[in-house]
Amino acid sequence: MSQATPAIRVNALRKRFRTTQALDGVALDIQPGEFFGLLGPNGAGKTTLISILAGLTRADSGQAAVMGHDVVRDYRQARRALGVVPQELVYDPFFNVRETLRIQSGYFGLRHNDGWIDEIMHHLDLTPHADKNTQSLSGGMKRRLLVAQALVHKPPVIVLDEPTAGVDVDLRRSLWEFISGLNREGHTILLTTHYLEEAEALCGRIAMLKGGRVVACDTTRNLLQLTNEHCAQLRLDAEVVPAAWQGRLHHDADGSWRVNFSDYAELETLLADLRGAGVRVLEMQLQEPDLEDVFTDIMKRT
């Protein structure tokens, strides 16, 4: 891993809301250029962590820094380095799309930024809606506007807090293409999502939070290897299986048989036993373990 200043560094971060310990000593380093996933069930502390990074929430103790800038002591530089796409679909109904982006740009002291605003609008398909009041935009367009607002000051670190919640397939796909493009250019992406297949496909590294603690943090590849439980679905030309497999092969309602195994050698033995018993395999499907299996397993164990 690179020894450069981490894009995001969080150390011993704690935050309590009345009776709830939202964060309980969270520590994370996210390197520049990473596409990093932050997963966890509702109430795990994901949004609290993002809010602390963005300066919307103040930690009780611990440190958080963006591109080496402490989010409290050096908040101006930290916020310049960070673009946040909030979870809620918020907008200011007084302004149109172009005004919204110009104003957001002005907050960062960027006076001559119309060229960049045009580019963002173009690539997020907002140009035809530039002069429309934000209130009249569809949900998908409002989501795009939030992404544009987060990018208007060209931040090296982009935080997306469940950006595809309630978003249709087309927008989700185009959004991920766009964000992946930014990541390829070297931008650090921190993503929280409940769509685990998205995290698995996009994130190079993933941290899992539960009860305000990091319960797992590793590359996506390593996490997927944490569980070696494969599954095979078979259609057989017989209704009875060899006695040795009767406890392990489960007969599903559609007539197929299902078996979980951790080693492919077991599958080889099963196929040999079936051949020995004169049972023919008509069809077989293998299912690899996915992030959802890993996530469920880790959440159960911790």
Binding site: L56, V90, F95, H122, L182
Partner: protein, 279 residues
Amino acid sequence: MNPPPQTPLRGASPLRGKKRLGRPGAFLVSGLSTLFYKEMLRFWKVVVQTVVAPVVTALLYLLIFSHVLEAHVEVYPGVSYTSFLVPGLVMMSMLQNAFSNSSSSLIQSKMQGNIVFVLLPPLSYLEFFLAYLGAAMIRGLVVGLGVWGVTLWFAPWQMPHLGWLLAYALLACAKMGAVGLVAGIWAEKYDQLAAFQNFLILPLTFLSGVFYSIHSLPPFWQAISHANPVFYLIDGFRYAFVGQSDTDPWLGLLVAGACFVAISALTLVLLRSGYKLRH
């Protein structure tokens, strides 16, 4: 892994596009001036509600009260009731609208969630305060000018003390803009802000001598009126117009200035702590 960009997103290939817009406004030069501009634009976009309506309301007050009392009441020697009433109405309108601007903007942003657009950028709490305060003052002054403008048809032009007028107008708008900020920060729903407005701001402005001189009140109520900080603003502002007042305008300026400093200090403490804004 790609190396981190030295100049983030500059020339990023997914985002090429060459169409340029007209030059942005001169206000977008800093966070402070942009927030000030945004707040001005916000109230100007609904100018009928934020400027025209209060001017019409003040005009109705003038028509009704001056019609009923003009022939019967002379508060100060040689000053008609209409001439007495106009400065009070101008000041009352300025106070209420300066308060409304900062308080309604904040509560709307909080309720709609778009306050994050102001909290995410690198704005200091002092910049936040100055921008909201500045816009509230502008709206108060614009409404005040409007009310004064329409009442010129009903009361003769008089301007003995321009310095006093400016001092009181600016101080009053600043003070109520700051009070509006406190209310907007404190309130968590429209109902709470309405209570603040109806049970504090409205009584303080109506019972401050806009429609009468406190010398016409019994001693007890005179003493109560002296405890009302808004009374000094109305009284001093009226002095600027008619050259007569219930108290020394210097005393009024002192009280108003002290109130402004105290409320501003409270607002800055709240903003610095992130009270009800940054959890």
